[in-house]
Subunit: 203 residues, 3 copies
Amino acid sequence: MTWEILNVIGTIAFAVSGALVAIEEDYDLLGVFVLGLTTAFGGGLVRNLLIGIPVENVWKQDYLFAIAFVVITIVFILPNKWIGRWKKCVVFFDAIGLAAFAIQGANYAVSIKAPLIVVIIAATMTGAGGGMIRDVFAGRKPMIFRSEIYALWAALAGLSIGLGWISGPLSTFVLLTAIVLFRVLAVYFKWNLPQKKRSRKQL
Amino acid sequence: MTWEILNVIGTIAFAVSGALVAIEEDYDLLGVFVLGLTTAFGGGLVRNLLIGIPVENVWKQDYLFAIAFVVITIVFILPNKWIGRWKKCVVFFDAIGLAAFAIQGANYAVSIKAPLIVVIIAATMTGAGGGMIRDVFAGRKPMIFRSEIYALWAALAGLSIGLGWISGPLSTFVLLTAIVLFRVLAVYFKWNLPQKKRSRKQL
Amino acid sequence: MTWEILNVIGTIAFAVSGALVAIEEDYDLLGVFVLGLTTAFGGGLVRNLLIGIPVENVWKQDYLFAIAFVVITIVFILPNKWIGRWKKCVVFFDAIGLAAFAIQGANYAVSIKAPLIVVIIAATMTGAGGGMIRDVFAGRKPMIFRSEIYALWAALAGLSIGLGWISGPLSTFVLLTAIVLFRVLAVYFKWNLPQKKRSRKQL
């Protein structure tokens, strides 16, 4: 049940973020649909691969495709000034997708009794897949490698699930909200992690 | 039988398109072979993943590797003026690969009794995989996201198969030819789909 | 046994090469870990996909994650002048990963009695996966498509294994050392393969 809801939330969020990136890049009508669907189901594909769900199961989720279609259509026909107003739109929806799929990855790792470090990495990689696919296809450097702390929030989700702090739908929902909040705050306040100091091109 | 022929056609076409892109990018001898093989079998890998065929089965298709090798060798030794004459070569072979794998994706979706929208998306994503891998590895923006209508033809293949209009090898062959024709015409006449109007970088 | 050792060697080598590329690109602390882990386990994921090992098995290799973590941490805290001194560091560790995974791919292909050409291609593609993922995510053109002979060494590993010249851990280790040596020499002396002569952008 929780799995199913996270799946729907993550898929919708990645679909919206893909469609918004496509509009930013001036793709045409079909390009918006293709990048939206690729991001949503590409993210799910990476998650399925990493946690051993047969990839072709994706085609049995009819309702998810229908929802993604409707959502992308809404993004496409929304007046520009609405989208312009939510300057952080892509970041926001990407954060939701990241959080939803990261929690699924961590839950899977816990279910096979993986040690803590594996739970953390599973959360990070499962969550980051959709955004990576979107950014690579749009010819951008994946968000995860740009500054403003991205993977850390997924890793913290993995940590809290791995330590057994999260159980049941309610605390899962609180965790999801917290990850999205911290990610958006990190972008808003331009939080950054330490870098290894070196002059570029020195190596 | 039809599956096998489409597989051979799609693999050869993607091998040629990969080799041509590698020559365009001034890759060396091995680069041409590697991008040709990566495009051909990467496209098949994406298709296998999406429709649940074990990926490692690819290694059992000895004859396909042999054919791909011969085809890439021919592309490499062909005189430049021949290649120069067929300016649309990459587009043409890419279109054949797109059509062949799109039909396989749609047929699979129909075989599991997926609803129409799923058949259409399966056709598009299965068909687009090879070209996406080629373009990402060559550092280009994937064709599917550039203008001149790309995914639409794969989607229409999915629609016609999903509606049951296509049955038997003959109508499949007609459909394949029609997709390639429309795709080439779209590039030739620079057909475009509507874009969401907005000034770039406004978001 | 040999499999396990090659797995450890390849994973460590790709982890180091990913971390070094991330430092070169001025990624932050987490970026270095994410690109290191993505390269190491992405390479293993491609290998597992291609030779039919369930991808989710990756999460059962606890010790590998621990080793990769330690190794990336060491790379991060090493003084810059050390890294600067080994100018070919990325090339060197990438070559080790390439060689280790190429040998695994070739051994698998031999084990299913694939013909020689398939063994050669399996070696090349299995070996090249990690580096391709690293370079695509770092926004670089994959090493395999730049000059100075890359895929050839993996292909030769495939050839020697396919011909049955390599048996037992000792000769495998000699082969691995030879591939790394030739790759590094190729970069050092700027060996190149023939290119198809044509003026760029002519096509």
